[in-house]
């Protein structure tokens, strides 16, 4: 199969076939990553630039490792504290990097749509590593891969996404992807943390963990930003944890073999209790491993079988 996309800007726009292709490819990458010799040469000679306008250690490291395992030359550009502050625009930065002939740009930005804007202006493939509250496609793919490997399937599973859906690009990408693969999605959050029109997004909405988790196969917790915990969206950390934090009592409402997931970094004691995060149902570490594999699959698909190919 040829992966018919030049960029990966979101899950929206991918077909079920595209998604399965990437997940299958990622399964292969997992095997490779578990070997002693972890490196291939499939992207040898190609240049990958990680352009992060928003700080992120984990995602950036994951993309860097993925690129290196495929043999690409990887450069990290953290623009959080550099030229952008001096008035250089997103487009200027992109054009500067473009002139260096990268083959793939991995971009994270705090504004929704920023990666799409950038993709219009550069001559290489672009991977969205998170744009504002819009999409985070590789996170959704790695979540799907984790679920598929643990449960053997995605279709028919009940997945509960809990917490700050309003500001979450992870939630949006997951809602699109997991629905496309046939899971039924629930969201559980106080209404102040839900986007307008959520009930029209093809999900079931709950405001109580006990009800929302009942019979669930996957419990996906979202991070709540510190500045949103103290009176602006929810009154306090302790109230939030009391009603929406995942602890043993609440998890007991889900299926006994339910998976517990978190995109990280976690706020222990805010959205998730430590004993759950480190407990037997947690697949949080597996998610990290799948992250590298999915990113290898995505970059290989875009650069080797994508219809864009390396910029000339």
């Amino acid at each position: 199969m040829v992966f018919p996309h030049r960029h990966l800007l979101g899950i929206n726009g991918l077909t079920e076939l595209d998604i399965s292709f990437l997940l299958d490819k990622a399964d292969e990458a997992v095997k490779l990553s578990r070997q002693r010799e972890k490196k291939t040469s499939s992207l040898r000679g190609l240049t990958q630039i990680n352009l992060f306008f928003e700080a992120s250690t984990r995602t950036q490291a994951s993309f860097e490792l993925a690129g290196k395992r495929l043999g690409a030359d990887v450069m990290n550009m953290s623009v959080v504290n550099s030229s952008v502050k001096k008035g250089e625009t997103l487009i200027d930065t992109a054009m500067t990097l473009n002139a260096m002939h990268p083959d793939i740009l991995v971009v994270r930005h705090s504004s929704a749509g920023a990666t799409a804007l950038l993709a219009q202006k550069v001559g290489c493939s672009v991977v969205n590593a998170g744009d504002g509250a819009h999409e985070h496609p590789t996170q959704a793919l790695l979540d799907a891969l984790t679920i598929r490997r643990e449960k053997g399937r995605i279709s028919g599973l009940v997945v509960a996404i809990c917490g700050d859906v309003l500001h979450s690009r992870v939630a949006r990408s997951n809602i699109i992807l997991l629905s496309a693969l046939g899971a039924s999605i629930r969201v559980i959050a106080p209404s102040t943390l839900l986007p307008t029109g959520i009930e029209q997004m093809g999900v079931e909405v709950f405001h109580s963990m006990e009800e929302g988790l009942r019979g669930g196969d996957v419990v996906m917790m979202l991070r709540l930003q510190r500045e949103r915990m103290t009176g602006s969206f929810v009154p306090s950390v302790r109230e939030y944890f009391r009603y929406f934090g995942l602890d043993t009592q609440k998890l007991a409402f889900a299926s006994p073999d339910a998976l517990v997931m978190h995109p990280g970094p976690m706020n222990r004691g805010v959205e998730i209790a430590s004993e759950i995060a480190d407990g037997p149902q947690s697949v949080i570490e597996a998610q990290v491993e799948m992250g590298v594999a999915v990113r290898m699959a995505v970059m290989e698909a875009l650069l080797l079988s994508g219809n864009g190919g390396p910029a000339l």
């Binding site: 929206n12 625009t89 504004s111 929704a112 799409a116 804007l117």
Partner: protein, 425 residues
């Protein structure tokens, strides 16, 4: 002095409730006759068979970059753009740098316009100093210097007492207060209409209540003070309802809508197209339809272009970081004609809303083809198809939401005070 005669035109003049074929004669910068069939000896006759002649458009809401942002638009360039759009009179917003809140600035605008503009430029004045919503400006002196209306520009006055006093004081000077209403705290960091579409895009929404709540407050204060209040740019069906109710109560209220809000809806934003980022935001198709109906019935009095030039520095950015606003002078008539062609609003009402009615609301000598009126008019080919091309726009800024749009109907010539200021090549 030569006489110019436009022969055999379809004359559409709402000020005379006229839609008839005939001739218009222009002499000494004034309309000499309207509707007859004769051509005086020695007159310069122009055959207008198949063309419309309308009173020159009056655009009551135009942002200009001069003074302070001349790279976006000058008084001269806005005038060129207006002429190409058949707009012969425009009210210039005080949102400049410095803000037009002082007599000297009103005089600057009028002097510059006299020297450089081919269309009539009418300055409006800031209602509060620096548009900051606190201290009132010198309404009387500003009016006598030539300001035709008061407005707080893009900003809504948050303080109810300040607004009450401004309305009361403006009433004594017979000035209209034009307001755009948006509650800053409710709108917060919002950048588009709140709803499912914004949620999928991951963009913060502006609830419709952010417009309706301060609008209803304004209408109550207008009723309390007896001032002449103009809701400058509404975007929701509930706003239409509020205006209608206020009018029924006998309040001295008028209402405007931008051409964008009756031509487009939020879905046009598509994949983060910043030229569709406007304030107020584009709303739903239901809102658009409700406003078109209100325009037809006259509950919405006027259409404005809300011409707001922005350059690449403010528009070629991620959606949430871009500036609001779109240019509109050159496409105003063509976009409005869509409503005529598809049968939504009769032609006479459309021209009324863009010419006669705004002239009447703001007390301008414009909007009529009656004999004796200043000869401000536009000749329009109502059916000519054309494509909006960025390169052909005369405005210094190119942020049009109608880029590459196909229109039917185009201004072929514009005359101001008997002089051609635009003729299509």
């Amino acid at each position: 002095m030569t006489t110019t005669v436009f022969r055999n035109a379809r004359i559409v003049d709402p000020s005379q409730d006229m839609d008839a074929t005939g001739n218009i004669a222009v002499e000494n910068g004034r309309i000499a006759s309207c509707g007859g069939t004769g051509v005086p000896k020695g007159a310069d006759a122009i055959d207008c068979t198949g063309k419309l002649i309308i009173p020159g458009l009056v655009d009551a809401r135009v942002f200009v970059g001069e003074p302070g942002a001349e790279h976006r638009e000058t008084i001269a360039s806005v005038s060129d753009a207006a002429a190409a759009g058949g707009v012969t009179s425009l009210i210039m917003m005080p949102d400049t740098s410095p803000v037009i809140d002082d007599v000297a600035l009103v005089e600057f605008v009028l002097r510059t316009a006299r020297e450089q503009a081919s269309v009539n430029i009418y300055p409006s004045a800031a209602m509060t100093k620096g548009l900051n919503g606190g201290e009132l400006t010198e309404f009387g002196l500003l009016r006598d210097a030539g300001a035709v209306m008061l407005t707080n520009g893009r900003n809504t006055v948050a303080n109810n007492l300040v607004l009450r006093r401004a309305l009361t004081y403006a009433r004594d000077f017979g000035l209209v207060v034009a307001s755009e209403t948006q509650d800053e705290t409710l709108a917060a960091q919002g950048v588009m209409n709140e709803g499912l579409f914004a949620s999928w895009l991951g963009l913060e929404g502006i609830p419709r209540e952010a417009e309706i709540i301060p609008l209803e407050r304004d209408l109550r204060l207008a009723e309390l003070t007896g001032a002449r209040y103009h809701a400058a740019k509404i975007s929701t069906s509930e706003s239409v309802e509020a205006i209608r109710n206020a009018k029924t109560r006998g309040t001295s209220v008028t209402c405007g809508v931008s051409i964008n809000h009756i031509s487009l809806n939020e879905n046009d934003i598509g994949e983060y197209r910043t030229f569709f980022r406007l304030s107020p935001p584009l709303r739903s198709e239901d809102d658009r339809r409700a406003m078109v109906a209100a325009l037809e019935s006259g509950d919405i009095d006027i259409i404005v272009s809300s011409h707001d030039p922005q350059d690449v520095d403010t528009k070629r950015l991620p959606f949430a970081d871009a500036a609001d606003g779109a240019i509109g002078l050159e496409t105003l008539l063509a976009a409005a004609l869509r409503l005529h062609h598809n049968g939504d609003v009769p032609l006479l009402r459309l021209i009324d809303a863009m010419s006669t009615r705004p002239a009447r609301i703001f007390g301008l000598d414009a909007g009529s083809l009656k004999p004796g009126s200043r000869a401000d008019l536009a000749v329009v080919d109502p059916d000519e198809p054309w494509l909006v091309s960025k390169e052909e726009l005369r405005s210094r800024s190119k942020n049009t939401p109608f880029e590459d749009a196909r229109f039917q109907g185009r201004v072929t010539a514009t005359m101001v005070a008997g002089r051609f200021v635009y003729e299509i090549s």
